[in-house]
Subunit: 429 residues, 2 copies
């Protein structure tokens, strides 16, 4: 962590001239005298204040112009925790935890309030001591990104890393991941690594590991129990099942969605029960089918991100769709209304897109349920214009699948065929 | 209904030369001899066949080249139903049913299989005889569109029609509407007609009125009971609550979404119980607050549809957002991830959009829950770039509201203020 995070201009000079860095404990006199820790600031904020976390836990911004006296009480270094090395237990299974960032892989530093990544197995085990009784967990940081910044290239990176461990000492792999786009990543891994022999779980948390209400520990414990006890494979998203701390859901990575902005049980399996429920000491299996429809592991770690997800709405403009068609997109996944419809106003452009050879897939913004394009005239029209109905694939999953399919084929017939082939439980009956 | 729907070229000539139209009962000899009704065909199909509905209910396509004999048994006109006029009951309340199209306002013609609109009060009352015991229902056909073809201009038409009846003999108004975009229309009416004195309900059905499993009758009965019995106002969507025929939901028109492609209970109030539940003879009120936040009815029936709904996903391209910004859009509603995030990759263009004076609002693709843009650095960055967090407004509702606000104001401060003002229960605590 940079010592001056967020400070610049006048406020940065103030810190330097007083020999202070973020994390130092200070006593400052302005209108009153305040004792506290110097906090990091966020970009784009002014350079006229420094921020203190008071002993009460409140943060206060102090106007530099009003500060009359500064006294350093103790420096940042002196109050760092000392890490403890842990021993491995040869009778326990081995688990690898790959960290990609997000709340789960971070903790709030109570001194400064800053969110910092948990990097080492030691830190993880000291945060969640139960884990070391269940498995020997190795950790590796792949990268550290909020998940809204995880791009298709990151998916490739994760998949290539996982390939290294397909045939390894590990019973399973945990990927710590920000929750925002966890279900996009789980989809890509499901397609690119179809048949992967050991189970992979993506785990996130809605509140960081060291907050009282955090779901991180229980999600990690649930994930570890699942990897250790369930003799299965597949790519799963493991999160709280409800607002209690009693049940953890293990969702099929291709049938799951973040359906709430903040609840711990934000993730839901669409149209079905979660594949597994971890209820206290019991694991309840709901999954009826194998996750992968192939038993052979032949990784296909390619993608072409030239896929647009077009959500239709009243007022969606034909000239906007035209601009998309005129770009170099190779596929458009429509998020239509109801059973898979878009307004007539777009038909001419749909025809144009089809003639240009763009793959056109239909999903529904209803999210749940199957598209059915033979029920109404509109649906039949769209079928005739070349749109392919994508069964009950969730729009986000159809998008990721299209990127993956395009990365592996240039043949229009093959692209259509694979889009409609159930690879990794992305479609259900 | 055109007499030759779907027939063209050779097949159209065949019908004409044999003096036949769709709906005629015929006996045709080709490989075998078939008796049945001539069915309409769908566009884009070939002109080499005619389609018969056999007495068994099955449809069969007959190759014109193989037909050796044609005999007309009875003509289409002779088997039409005779309508019965109904008398009004002066002791009952009056309800107006405006028809805009969709499955609810149609019935499958069992002879031909074609879906045709129900146009008259007589037909409605003969389909759902319970209605005439509850209210005198006048009907008026505004237009007849599948709802994916209902455009913002149609919203204006409906709103202007409703204004005519604000001060009328009617206790309430039913709008029969296709389900696909019913919640977009209900949102617009909620904003444009805030304070409208009598209750308005949008009713749809997932299966047409004369099918055994149709939800149309119960939805209409529920809607009528609600209008007659509940002394309230507001704009509601009335549909099946679950897969049973026992409970009808009455959803706030600004908090509802079609969340399943085909189930009768496809509509759900987001993040709350439906405002009212109609359970057999009982109406259960869940709504705690008035629907409209104003008691004064001052219609503002304007809109500017230059609003883009941008759903973010990994791989969303900066150059696509740039194209949108370079068009003449006046507002962009982001459907961000989680608490309201989009990838850093778009920041430069967000900045550009803001500088161009485009209103930028943030909602979440999680659908449920509130955006919270001060929790993570990403959110704070986006706030600093000028994005306005739209509380827990559903993305589709935020889109419609922005169209409405832009139609009523050119002042950036006012636009922002109204977007954040709770007009018609589009936001909740």
């Amino acid at each position: 962590m940079p010592e001056y995070t967020g400070y610049r201009g006048t406020s940065l000079e103030f810190l330097k001239s007083n020999n202070l860095v973020v994390g130092d404990s200070v006593k400052i006199t302005s209108d009153l005298t305040y004792s506290g820790i110097i906090m990091p600031r966020y970009e784009h904020q002014d350079d006229k204040h420094i921020v203190l976390k008071l002993n009460s836990g409140y943060n206060i911004g102090l106007d530099l112009d009003q500060i009359s006296k500064v006294e350093k009480l103790s420096s940042s270094e002196k109050i760092r925790n000392i890490e403890q090395k842990i021993k491995k237990n040869p009778s326990l299974p081995n688990i690898l935890l790959l960290s990609t960032g997000g709340t789960i892989a971070s903790k709030v530093d109570y001194r400064t309030g800053a969110v910092t990544p948990i990097l080492t197995a030691e830190e993880l085990n000291s945060s969640v001591p139960e884990l070391s009784k269940m498995a020997n967990i190795d950790t590796e940081v792949l990268f550290s990104e909020y998940s809204e910044n995880i791009m298709p290239d990151h998916w490739l990176q994760i998949a290539n890393k996982l390939v290294e461990f397909a045939d390894s000492k590990y019973s399973g792999i945990i990927i710590a991941h920000g929750t925002d786009t966890m279900h996009y990543t789980s989809s890509f891994l499901s397609f690119a690594l179809a048949g992967y022999p050991i189970p992979v779980v993506l785990v996130g948390s809605q509140r960081s590991s060291d907050r009282a209400s955090s779901d991180a520990a229980l999600n990690l414990i649930g994930a570890t129990r699942f990897l250790v006890e369930c003799k299965t494979n597949g790519v799963y998203v493991v999160m709280h099942h409800d607002e209690s701390d009693e049940t953890i859901s293990c969702h099929y990575g291709t049938r799951v969605r973040k359906n709430h902005t903040s609840k711990r049980s934000a993730f839901e399996t669409i149209g079905d029960n979660p594949a597994y429920l971890i209820i206290d000491d019991k694991i309840q299996k709901n999954a009826k089918d194998d996750y992968f429809k192939t038993s052979e592991f032949t990784p296909k770690i390619n993608l072409d991100a030239r896929v647009a997800l077009v959500k239709y709405y009243p007022g969606y403009r034909a000239d906007l769709l035209e601009k998309i068609i005129d770009m170099d997109y190779r596929a458009i996944i429509f998020e239509g209304t109801g059973l898979g419809h878009i307004g007539k106003i777009l038909y001419d452009n749909v025809k144009k897109a089809h003639e240009k050879g763009i793959f056109l897939g239909m999903t529904s913004q209803c999210i749940d349920g199957r598209v059915g394009m033979t029920v109404y005239e509109s649906g039949r029209d769209l079928l005739n214009l070349g749109i392919v109905p994508l069964e009950n694939m969730i729009p986000e999953v159809a998008l990721v699948k299209a990127m993956w399919v395009l990365g592996n084929s240039d043949n229009p017939e093959e692209i259509k065929k694979i889009m409609l082939e159930n690879i990794s439980s992305e479609m259900s009956k």
